[in-house]
């Protein structure tokens, strides 16, 4: 219960008790007043009637007339005249009650009209005693009116008081609400500085304390951000040509050489300079460096319109131009153009084309290739190029004999989508420090029949080729929300959503509808993993997704992180639960880079997770880098606490 509710309840109760007490006391006082009045009336009548009764000299007919006259003209319950031996001389009693108040009121308020008496005497002799009792009917009516008036006043005063109390409490506790907002923001790693310092001293101290803490954490984040940016610049950039370096290329390649890569094929072009030693002797190091810068510019210009292309300097004399989605024939065209431009540059540098020349090895890769295969086959192509006349050589990846043709796959996948032939499987993510399961990563199998099924790696590539990958994701996201009971565990699950699916036109609406209908019933905590490339674009699209997930208490994770961003502010803005990066990424980072990254993530409460950790040796190396949460084959061998 909030402090406001507690205070409001307590004060309202207090107020109502006071008002009720006042109401009861007022009513009791009115009751006493009315009873006193009843007695006084009776007493006055008794006294004033006793004197003329005495003057009747004991004539009962005169006395009864006098009593009748008094009784009929006033409100009396009873007038009784008894003689000195207590015998009734004359009596008048009210015969019927005039009902002027509800029955419950008469039962609730016991009103007893007192009897007032006076001696009656004629001359020196005693006649008797006159007793008068007023009728309480009108007293009841008076009291009932008083009660109704009191109740109306009570309700009006109570309403006004409660409204005033509510307003007062809101005014007093407004600063506390701001403080609470700030504290809640800190809990969610949203760091806001409170500009309005409350006037209440205790609250002001808390706000100043939190502001101070937030400023420090923000400063930590900014420092980490600056340091990481600086390291990225050093680690991924070739100092001389300002092109990316070999390390960058290696960190980026896993995103393309994978089963669900958006590009099935592509080209890796290695451009190598021959005769650089001679060139150095002829025109000097400085001029050669200028030549290399000019060549780098040629590469940049030549590839600027090619999506996702990477130009990197691999070593002193070799460059890699990585072109996802590019074909060998197009690459040869491009290589010729580059070669021509480079020769012009060599000429301009005053060098001989026969002595200083470039060779271009082109390898048309397949996304199933490993990084080492890509490099060795590219090197082969370059070696061939060095010896042929044109100095350009194209080598293609081995065409594996597919068990099934494209059309057969397409048919199976379409059929699977229609007949719900997908099953969820999960992989565990382990915190090796505490030996605890962090969450389960969901993947899917395509189940053909009882005996045969295909893994994600098997059917996803043909699905992408057939343009069915988005349909598969649409299917499994629907499955996740509608058939979530098929998942046994009630812990936390993560599901990775690829860029092409998220960018598809109807995906947002589809997910939005599913969440609205099913999010409340999900039996587990869900984390949606989004690709770093998409997240760091900070587009309207991704912001809408994140807002949507937050609305339904679904956490965000980032995958395929290689720290490529120019600014890491987006991590603070979006505050994902964790960042997943290939284990090779963590292993190739310098200690300073890792330290800066940790400064950023620790300050906003983001976990670092290494994926693809296949063996204990890799795990040990990853741990040395300070990353303790891992995903990969190694998790199968770890025992949990």
């Amino acid at each position: 219960m909030t402090l406001f509710k507690q205070m409001a309840l307590l004060l309202s109760l207090f107020l109502l008790i006071i008002l009720t007490t006042v109401l009861i006391l007022n009513f009791q006082s009115a009751n006493r007043g009315v009873q006193d009045r009843l007695y006084e009336d009776a007493k006055n009548t008794a006294t004033s009637l006793s004197l003329p009764l005495g003057g009747a000299n004991g004539d009962l007919s005169i006395m009864s007339t006098m009593i009748n006259a008094t009784f009929d003209s006033g409100n009396y319950r009873k007038i009784l005249l008894v003689d000195i031996e207590n015998n009734i001389l004359y009596e008048r009693v009210l015969e019927s009650d005039i009902i002027v108040v509800p029955e419950w009121f008469r039962e609730l308020v016991s009103l007893k009209a007192p009897v007032a008496s006076a001696n009656v005497s004629a001359g020196w002799s005693q006649v008797g005693i006159l007793s008068v009792q007023s009728d309480s009917t009108y007293a009841y009516k008076q009291l009932y009116t008083i009660l109704i008036d009191l109740l109306i006043s009570f309700i009006v005063i109570a309403l006004l008081s409660l409204t005033a109390l509510n307003l007062l409490l809101h005014a007093i506790l407004r600063p506390l609400k701001e403080v609470q907002k700030q504290a809640a923001a800190i809990t969610k790693n949203e760091f806001i500085i409170q500009e309005n310092i409350p006037y209440t001293k205790e609250l002001a101290d808390v706000v100043l304390g939190m502001n101070n803490m937030v400023s420090k954490v923000k400063a930590m984040f900014d420092k980490g951000n600056e340091e990481l940016k600086a390291h990225k610049e050093l680690e991924y950039t070739d100092e001389n040509t300002q092109l990316k370096n070999r390390k960058y290329l290696i960190d980026r390649l896993p995103a393309y050489l994978k089963v669900d890569s958006p590009y099935e094929k592509g080209v890796n072009m290695i451009v190598a300079f021959g005769g650089i030693i001679e060139a150095n002797e002829k025109i000097g190091h400085q001029q050669v460096d200028k030549l290399l810068i000019a060549v780098a510019e040629i590469f940049r210009k030549s590839t600027k319109d090619i999506n996702d292309s990477i130009v990197a300097r691999i070593n002193g004399t070799e460059f890699s131009i990585f072109l996802p989605g590019y074909t060998g024939s197009d690459a040869i065209e491009l290589a010729r153009s580059i070669q021509k431009s480079c020769f012009n540059a060599i000429d301009s540098a005053g060098l001989d084309q026969h002595e200083t020349f470039i060779s271009i090895g082109i390898y048309e890769y397949n996304h199933k290739d490993s990084i080492s295969e890509l490099f060795s086959r590219s090197d082969n192509a370059l070696a061939q190029a060095k010896f042929n006349r044109e100095h350009i050589h194209l080598e293609k990846a081995d065409t594996a004999v597919e068990v099934m043709g494209k059309e057969a796959w397409k048919l199976i996948i379409k059929n699977a989508i229609e007949k719900n032939r997908f099953n969820f499987v999960s992989w565990s993510v382990i915190d090796t420090k505490n030996r605890k399961l962090v969450h389960n990563v969901l993947s899917i199998h395509l189940v053909l029949d009882k005996n045969s099924s295909y893994g994600y790696a098997q059917f996803m590539a043909p699905a992408i080729q057939s343009g069915l990958s988005c349909d598969i994701y649409k299917k499994i996201v629907t499955m996740l929300f509608n058939d979530s009971h098929t998942l046994l565990s009630t812990s936390t699950y993560s599901l990775r959503l690829p860029q092409e699916y998220l960018e598809k036109e109807d995906t947002y609406l589809n997910i939005s509808d599913l969440l609205r209908a099913n999010a409340a019933m999900l039996p587990f905590k869900l984390i949606i993993e989004l690709p770093d490339r998409l997240v760091r674009q900070d587009s309207k699209n991704i912001r809408e997704y994140i807002e949507l997930f937050r609305r339904y208490s679904i956490d965000i994770g980032i995958f395929e992180f290689i720290g490529e961003s120019e600014d890491y502010q987006y991590l603070q803005d979006l505050r994902p639960s964790y960042i997943k990066a290939e284990s090779s990424y963590f292993l190739t980072q310098s200690d300073q880079s890792i330290s800066s990254l940790r400064l950023i993530t620790d300050s906003v409460g983001i976990s670092l997770i290494a994926v693809g950790v296949s063996d204990i040796d890799t795990l040990d190396m990853i741990k040395e880098k300070g990353v303790y949460i891992v995903q990969g084959e190694v998790t199968e061998t770890l025992e949990l606490a």
Partner: protein
């Protein structure tokens, strides 16, 4: 059962003796009167107690005469002179302490003294009368042997007790007995002056 009855009778006898022995003027009261009104007042009260004691076992008439004679010795003075009020019902302690008072003060003191002596209070009435001789309102104490018998009049103007029929100088207006009225009603209040007097009696106002 027999033992219980004996015990009950003995208890009642003891209570009666104790009550009968209780003085009208207690020592503590005497002391206060001495402090306030000095020694002569104290002597008056001792004399009152002696008078009461002397007629304790006498007839009602003897008691009436003794009390009437005793109080008629007190000097008459108006309430305005003694208390600064137009009408004030003084307690027997104030009346005898100051040794002066007006007609109702005589009546009150006589009434309570006779009540103390065991005269049935139902026989005694405060009677409002008109004095034809002085042409002014007056109050006397009347004693009714039986409810229907002719009352005896205890007056401070005429110091002797006479049957009412012999008091041609008095025209009766109204009889009043607060104790009787208190018995009938279920309210603590019955008569303004009587109520005030009861309160002063409880406080033993001197």
């Amino acid at each position: 059962m027999f033992k219980l009855k004996v015990l009950l009778i003995l208890s009642l006898l003891f209570a009666y003796t104790t009550l009968a022995d209780a003085p009208y003027v207690e020592d503590s009261l005497l002391e206060k009167i001495n402090n306030k009104y000095k020694i002569y007042a104290k002597k008056r009260f001792i004399l009152l107690q002696d008078t009461l004691d002397s007629v304790r076992d006498k007839t009602d008439i003897e008691k009436l005469e003794a009390i009437n004679d005793f109080y008629n010795e007190v000097r008459y003075s108006s309430d305005m002179k003694v208390y600064g009020k137009s009408d004030y019902w003084a307690t027997p302690w104030e009346f005898l302490g100051k040794d002066r008072g007006d007609c109702e003060d005589y009546v009150i003191s006589k009434y309570f003294a006779l009540k103390y002596l065991g005269v049935d209070y139902k026989k005694l009435f405060f009677t409002y009368v008109r004095s034809t001789k002085f042409k002014e309102p007056h109050m006397v104490l009347t004693y009714f042997e039986t409810p229907k018998s002719e009352p005896l009049v205890l007056d401070n103007y005429n110091r002797k007790i006479f049957p009412a029929s012999q008091r041609k100088d008095l025209t009766p207006i109204y009889n009043f007995n607060g104790d009787i009225l208190d018995e009938i009603g279920d309210n603590e209040k019955s008569h303004k002056k009587w109520d005030e007097l009861k309160l002063n009696m409880q406080r033993k106002k001197i």
